[in-house]
Symmetry: C2
Subunit: 264 residues, 2 copies
Amino acid sequence: MTDIMKNEQQYPNSTIKTLLNRRTIRAFAPTPISDERREILELAAQRAPTSSFDNAWSAIRVTDKALAEKIAAIGKQKYIAEAPLLYVFVVDTHRNARIAAEKGVPADDAVAFAQQYTYNQAHDDAVLALDAMQTAAESMGLGVVLLGSILNDMPQLVKLLHLPSLVFPVLGIAIGEPDQSPALKPRMDRSRQIFENRYPEDSETESMVEALASFDEAVHQYYDLRDTKKPVDRFTDQIAAKATNPAPATKPFAKYAKEQGFKF
Amino acid sequence: MTDIMKNEQQYPNSTIKTLLNRRTIRAFAPTPISDERREILELAAQRAPTSSFDNAWSAIRVTDKALAEKIAAIGKQKYIAEAPLLYVFVVDTHRNARIAAEKGVPADDAVAFAQQYTYNQAHDDAVLALDAMQTAAESMGLGVVLLGSILNDMPQLVKLLHLPSLVFPVLGIAIGEPDQSPALKPRMDRSRQIFENRYPEDSETESMVEALASFDEAVHQYYDLRDTKKPVDRFTDQIAAKATNPAPATKPFAKYAKEQGFKF
């Protein structure tokens, strides 16, 4: 990090300060979010870029506490239901398929909306919109956690949210006043993640584990509020552990996306 | 939009102002981006959330003009090669697979990294990182275009960037001083994209085309700098046209992702 970034008064602007100080918040004060703030968050999501101007995403705001608790049960995280604001962002080509049908497009052609790249585009749209909402929330001092865990049971989530064909869950986001102050989680050296003109040959880095030694050490020093009883494993040890005991394929998104009408 | 948003001096903060005024920039001044700004953009990308802390994305900064022109040829857009900064963000589980192998994890287990949900997670990671870079750039007054078009020929892009197994392109991003000033592109009414507690039944909206009438009209009034000779088609007409003449499945991402070693 350059000297300019070490002194926070010298961030080029407050957005950069927000982006460089991102940390996941998993404990929220019960303070409600005002309607005005909620509107800003939703408008920021809508302003995200959308591939081919398809606008092929939607979001479900979960305000029903019983529903939120069912979603929290899928994600196995109590804070999902405790957050003052909870959304599930979804791929949505259902709306566009309806438009095409109303305009008299034959069903066989309209099915093109379900083709695999359309799925990919719509998926990107949903993530971009969700990230804009995250950034907007963080800029107002709110805390955010993104929720891949709610995909642990995709069929159940689809059912709970009444998602019709050509709609599919992507990620959740929980937002609220932070009730914890986690440390900034380390990132690997920039040169290990951002390359120039081509992906490096394996032979250029004899040992990836050695190459990531300082990152490993920083991760090991990091203090994780989720489990303060033991130090965090080094990054490369975390990866090795996950590879040794891979989680069962609990989230076969292609299988379930096909069930929702998408083609791969 | 609430009154508070109509007067830009009343945006809650400059980040919200940036997010609510996003527009795609497709013409860039030749002014280079300073190394310091580039570093900020890359660090902002690295600070994005990463699913399960897998850090399973990378980016290729394209500085070789001959390479940029080949990528621009795939995307069929000259501005891709004219932008002072160009990146291709990629799903990257190759790095983690190498770590697992170095740590002695048997190859069969390490293959778990190639499972489909891991692909999905890594894909989200890449989009989140790219969007953080976009927001950082826009906050500094730079213009941005996201590039799905560079995926028109995935095998060629994979080859040009020397992407090994378990690495796959997601999106490109071109950044520079804006040399155009496009209007803000309309978005549909918030109530048509963000729902409460469940996805609405089709029967709740008799005609989606009618429901989107004011959005359609706003899109029709929008002035597209890419083709100033004719008004922009209404949104629902754009969708119907795309459904009537669907693009051939030129970007079968699942097929090519499988060729890169991912499983679906």
